[in-house]
């Protein structure tokens, strides 16, 4: 994000921030309202809640943290972070599979 933006550009950004703020409040209300829906499928409940949370997360990261228009180096850092965080999640889920190598070695030892 340029630090030498004109006042007009900053005013436009401010309008965008207010729009994002309203969207985040609406998203929060929808998240809570959705939890009161009598949905019997656990997978559907989780999917709805995490879908709304993802949109809200994107709005905060994209506009409040300016990731939508950041420098290449920041993207590089974040790509590496996402790679390792995804790896961490994958290892966790993989370790829960009953036929995974971790389970097999634990049983044999």
């Amino acid at each position: 994000m340029s630090d030498h933006s004109s006042p007009e550009e900053i005013k436009k950004e401010v309008t965008r921030y207010i729009a994002v703020f309203v969207a985040l409040i609406v998203g929060t209300i929808i998240t809570v309202a959705a939890s009161y829906l009598h949905i019997n499928s656990v997978a559907e409940t989780v999917a709805i809640a995490l879908f709304i949370a993802s949109i809200k997360g994107f709005l905060v990261a994209g506009y409040f943290m300016h990731l939508i228009s950041e420098k290449k180096m920041i993207y590089g850092i974040l790509i590496a972070t996402v790679f390792f965080a995804a790896g961490l999640m994958f290892l966790t889920i993989w370790s829960m599979q009953s036929d995974s190598l971790i389970h097999t070695s634990l049983i044999h030892n």
Binding site: I10, T28, L37, V60, I77, L78, T81, M96
Partner: protein
Amino acid sequence: MEIPYNSTARPDTGLYNAKLGIWLFLASEVMLFGALFSSYILLRVGAEPGAWPHGLLNVKMGMINTIVLIVSSITVVMAWASLRMKNWSNYKKYQAVTLICSLLFLCIKSLEYRDKFNHYEIQLTDGRVADGHLLEQDADKVVLHGHYINKEEAAKVTHAWQEREVKEEEISIKQSEIKVDNGRKCMENYGPWHNTYMAIYFTLTGLHALHVIGGALVIGFIWGPGASMWKTDPERYTNRVEVSGLFWHFVDLVWIVLFPVLYLL
């Protein structure tokens, strides 16, 4: 010796030092919270069917706290925009609101913690389990506002909305009716020791609350004692506000994920 790129961006990366530093720090924070989230997934998926508790937390309190953090996020970014427009008084007002929001968030969180420390599960000698908030306790009896748990019915609860429909009433239990196991009464509150869910709840929200305290201290320092830099090096001061704001937005982002995961699912 003057450190280069403290307030101006390095030509090749387009970043000043603190901005690169905060993003590297936030990357490490993603891994920290990522490790705890993966622990949550492991515990949740590994729980026996019907064993994972639902509806234990106050959704209204959680929702108010979410809104409080969202308000603080916009005031942080508006404060930064005000500085870029050289509007010092607006900056001060917006950051004051941010600091008030951070205090409000912590107050609500501590009320929620107090509620859990006052919420008890009591096993009775006849096999029933009473669950509710402690109203009164003396040498003869314990009075709760809650309900009796039917283990078979409880196992069928898989959604928070099912738990919220349980009717609560005043329950008076004689001290002699409370089951004793190894010389210890089976009466325990919902602290982090109570079950796996409460343990991960306190760990995740406690760590998040520490981040709120840390962020508020930094924002408060820049806003108060550190404000003199605005007169000597306004560009560097604006960068400080931006960097502390990035951390604050990350704290908000973590809560956006924590709220549905812990309160609603």
